[in-house]
Symmetry: C2
Subunit: 723 residues, 2 copies
Amino acid sequence: MFHFWTISQESFDPRHLHHIETIFTIGNGYLSTRGAFEEGYPGDRRATFVHGVFDATPVAFTELANAPDWLPLTVLLNGERFGLDRGTIESFQRQLDLRTGMLTRTIRWHSPSGYIATLIFERFASLADPHTLFLRCRVMPEFEGTLEFRAALNGNTDNDGGGYRLTHWRWAGQGARGHAMYLRNRTHHSNIEFAGAMRLTPIAGRELSREVWDVENTPTLVVKMEAMSGQEVIVDKFIAAFTSRDVEAEHVVDAAVERVQGITGWSAAFDAHAQAWREEWARTDVIVEGDDEAQLAIRFNLYHMLIAAPRHDDRVNIGAKTLSGFGYRGHSFWDTEIFMLPLFTHTAPHIARNLLNYRYRHLPAAHAKAKANGWEGALFAWESADTGEEVTPTWLPDPNNKTRLVRIWTGDLAIHISADVAYAAYQYWQMTGDDPWFVEKGSELILDTAKFWASRAEWNAQQGRYEYNNVLGPDEYHDRVNNNEYTNRLAQWNLQTALKTLDWLRRHAPAKATELIERLDLNETRLAKWLDVIDKIWLHTEPNGLIEQFEGYFQLKDVNLADYEPRTRSMQEIFGVEGANEYQAIKQPDVLMLLCLLRDHYTAEIMRINYDYYTPRTDHTYGSSLGPSITAIMSCEVGKPDDAYEHFIRAGRADLHDVRGNARDGIHGASAGGTWQAIAFGFGGLRITPEGWSIHPRLPRHWKRLAFKFFYRGELQIVDIKV
Amino acid sequence: MFHFWTISQESFDPRHLHHIETIFTIGNGYLSTRGAFEEGYPGDRRATFVHGVFDATPVAFTELANAPDWLPLTVLLNGERFGLDRGTIESFQRQLDLRTGMLTRTIRWHSPSGYIATLIFERFASLADPHTLFLRCRVMPEFEGTLEFRAALNGNTDNDGGGYRLTHWRWAGQGARGHAMYLRNRTHHSNIEFAGAMRLTPIAGRELSREVWDVENTPTLVVKMEAMSGQEVIVDKFIAAFTSRDVEAEHVVDAAVERVQGITGWSAAFDAHAQAWREEWARTDVIVEGDDEAQLAIRFNLYHMLIAAPRHDDRVNIGAKTLSGFGYRGHSFWDTEIFMLPLFTHTAPHIARNLLNYRYRHLPAAHAKAKANGWEGALFAWESADTGEEVTPTWLPDPNNKTRLVRIWTGDLAIHISADVAYAAYQYWQMTGDDPWFVEKGSELILDTAKFWASRAEWNAQQGRYEYNNVLGPDEYHDRVNNNEYTNRLAQWNLQTALKTLDWLRRHAPAKATELIERLDLNETRLAKWLDVIDKIWLHTEPNGLIEQFEGYFQLKDVNLADYEPRTRSMQEIFGVEGANEYQAIKQPDVLMLLCLLRDHYTAEIMRINYDYYTPRTDHTYGSSLGPSITAIMSCEVGKPDDAYEHFIRAGRADLHDVRGNARDGIHGASAGGTWQAIAFGFGGLRITPEGWSIHPRLPRHWKRLAFKFFYRGELQIVDIKV
């Protein structure tokens, strides 16, 4: 079974450098580090991202700052520097052990002058103590002479954004204390301090000399070892990292130095780390038998969710590209609540709560956004970073003409985000039964978003109905549409759930009810308006059971996507941004997304009718990476598990196989989170009912077994389906 | 007289750090280095700019890349690092010797632990061999122990732009050869290679040890010296720099290493350098007696022109902020041709020719810009960098609201640049009599711009006249105006001069005439059109002799600027961008600019009438830095040399006193160049006539003597006015 825990690379091809860096990202929920090489490689995209460490950037307002680099470790064989861009690579192997997040690289290399050695690099970011990072280098020389190891902390990092490279850090000091060296940096705009401290320790072999190279912004420890043919030399580089988000700014250096000095050794640290990982997998693992690829893919996706999940911090969210790349600059979208959060709600409620608290903290920013647009209540930012303010770019340079701009509408129009947050909060409460949290925070999230929806509704006197016009639904091929069914129905659900919530609060937490009624001004007139909107919101199902994605969608030109196969571009690229608006081709499930979220509210017949209509009109291959997992669930719902498998495996492969060609920018977090939903809600058919939970297995024909776990009201539940 | 050659700073105040860095920039026409400290200072804006080394940047398309830093030299007193942000500064003095471009800093400093020393840093960028740079550190310790010197080349530089910091260089190698270390870097987008090589040599004192710190992108040479109280220790850091603009990319390292190894020592290098400076000043110096401030100010401005002037390269231009700061990103404007070039045309024709050749090289880009707008001939870029393409930003983020943009119109509408270039080419020819150049290049510049003007003219059938509508004249408080007199009259001048040029070519270089007629398609129809435009171009002088700046200007609200005094903001800031369009207040001379350039074409009466009208309506203090020197000339023309002095000294002080608060962004090149014009054309009254030249002195009352030099037809002329 070992095989299904290991992602392997058997040869080195620099053409896939950035993709592989993403795949081999390690992390611990505090920070993540892309799988770049210790010694560097020309054009690499080395990056470490620390949750919440944002700094200002042009156009996109703010971005996760690529942190000072803890990886550098160069090795010299008799003075010749090891690197994959020189000498001869005789063999190369790289492995990521998903069970422990241990990344290992083994190279047999000939230096340009002919010195031969086998080098093994191992690294992990401790899950037991997320401020500590471990790197080991083992060298088996086949020559006599010297091996030199140079370990650095490098503050000269930059961010890759739109082809330009921005620096976020200024040097703020460095020095040596005992065996440790430290480096301190500060972000240019947000003034966040970062301190790294390192030690470099020979473990095997004879030490010849040591030096400290106190170069500004790149403090370096150098140790020279004797090389004897056939005798392994081992050195360990230990790092500790703290930011002023963790401790007071004046203590970041002390904290890092003390922590690195307290490390007792590789084995002890690894044991604690591996134990922490065992506990994670004990809750999270999914077993698939009969399909090795699916087994490995689901674990790979779960691994990337687990390393990105903030366990100890409720001021941060997970970016659309997790912490594994520069894509979307670390900004968070509805991807969190609708695609990633269900995994945590079901398998790690403490993480789900942290993520929901992040939204709760940003209610003031959500009020400000609603107010700036003339509405009430909480309108969350479509793209959100450290403050909760809207950080969607309003315009981007036109890639085809640098003097022109393209207007980006999502930040203005994708208002469904508010209902998505409310939905996630309610789902968390239903699964966990975490009443204290719901009283303190969750209820307010639901009531405050409901307040927004009631104020945002436009009364159409002629038609006698409420409308949400000029919006952007889940399907981004159609912008500035009216009465998107997903938006309207979730707004209605949000208002209905708010009334239920208020009723529940009045009965179970009357003081809180009184406080919220007072603070949110939930007077009778307002609540009457809520009922009126619930009653008269525009919703439209054709007599044949077909739901119209938005007003006028059925009047658009129909399209047979098969006519465009084979293709390597999205339908939007083929039709153009304006052209895509004229066709029924959609980027991702929209009506089906609604049916998936509210699957208890729709009949099997409605699901089938809409599945049959919308699925062939969806750009599964080059549309949104958010689509396949949802389509997999819906395929199961309509009794087509083998179709579901095609969509599921497309999601599972998204990053491993780089099927969209952009895995270099980071892991597709929504796709990764969605694979778990496809497992549990799709193939497992997990449903929550007032009485508890039930499963309705519908496995692909070739699967022999599916097992997964989840917490229900605090108790771990185990599902094990064998066929 | 020594005093009038020295810019001194007698104490250190970090609040003026960036301003002083600009003032103390050294350079040699190949590169310039801001006056940052060798050891660094928190928040400093250290920068070296090499002519022509541009790299892509967002919004502004391209910018001069802050080159790898050759300055770093840190000194440790018994292990304690010297820096002005720690310990105690007992005395501080800094001097820039304008005669030689030698920058000297003397500090008596107490380390935190109480070690005392006097440190003297000297630096110069050789004018004799512009690829070599020299730095000397002299330390007089008052303690026993060690002095450690760490000299680095640092490739981790960034560009300061709009509050963000962009990197332009990637590491491309480093190493040691003999006593020298080298560093090689490459720009991200333009792929220009830069190699620096350095040596660190003890000159006085006893050497204890040496180390090489081979840290990636910051190679460092370290030498430890014995410290004995009262015994001076001296070390020299020599640097050589080459780019792939100078030699083939594969030879940049060899070139830098060989050059640095060939340096024979400080004294020999300085002697050659000082001799080169003597030759510069022998042509350029201006003597003012009776006014010490004016004497020093004019030399200061001439110094900054001389260090920015490209002596050996005709592929580059001088940026609006010379090579001394990040302002305007190294882009060149009409500032070169109209404000700076006359100095070189008169005192260093070989430099003027280089600058004009830069425009000649960019005729293809000027054709492309005209063609893209539907016109013919050569329309030069308003902002120009390495390719001659338009690099004016089309939009900039609104500083008051980051989600909004401000449209920048100059790149579209400030078409007078084409006539400005033609004017400068003609002036160069008139002064130098450089017929070979005029035949080969200058004539084409004039004919090709004339072709543009004829195609750009709009026929108004109703009025029976040609018009230039929707333009931006010199005064930028009024954009999108019609029939700006400056633009229309210079267009007419350009067409007239083109016909004269063609006539001259037919007589003196008939083969070239034939070639150009053929190549530029100067057929009879086209030339007839030129005559027609010259004849019927909209030009407007009121019966009272007043020229209207543009059509409708006199209908704008009048304004008494005195009513707004005292003020610290421009009138545009007070009125707002749109508001300023409604008033007669102007940013800088526009009609007077025209009268200044074509002063032989207007009567004294017309000058006086327009001077009296426009001068009080000009924002002399916070409008354009281009204005004061021109107003000084015109004040002299109307017989008011004491008024002229006020304007002249405002220009002279612009950067020395940081009167506009933005000297941190670099030297105001147009203002610096304009001070020489105010001297020669204003106070000296220099005029070129068909018979030769004449002067008409009109000195400020307190001046006792004014002397300046210029070349006329290859012969150095000396003007020495004593009163």
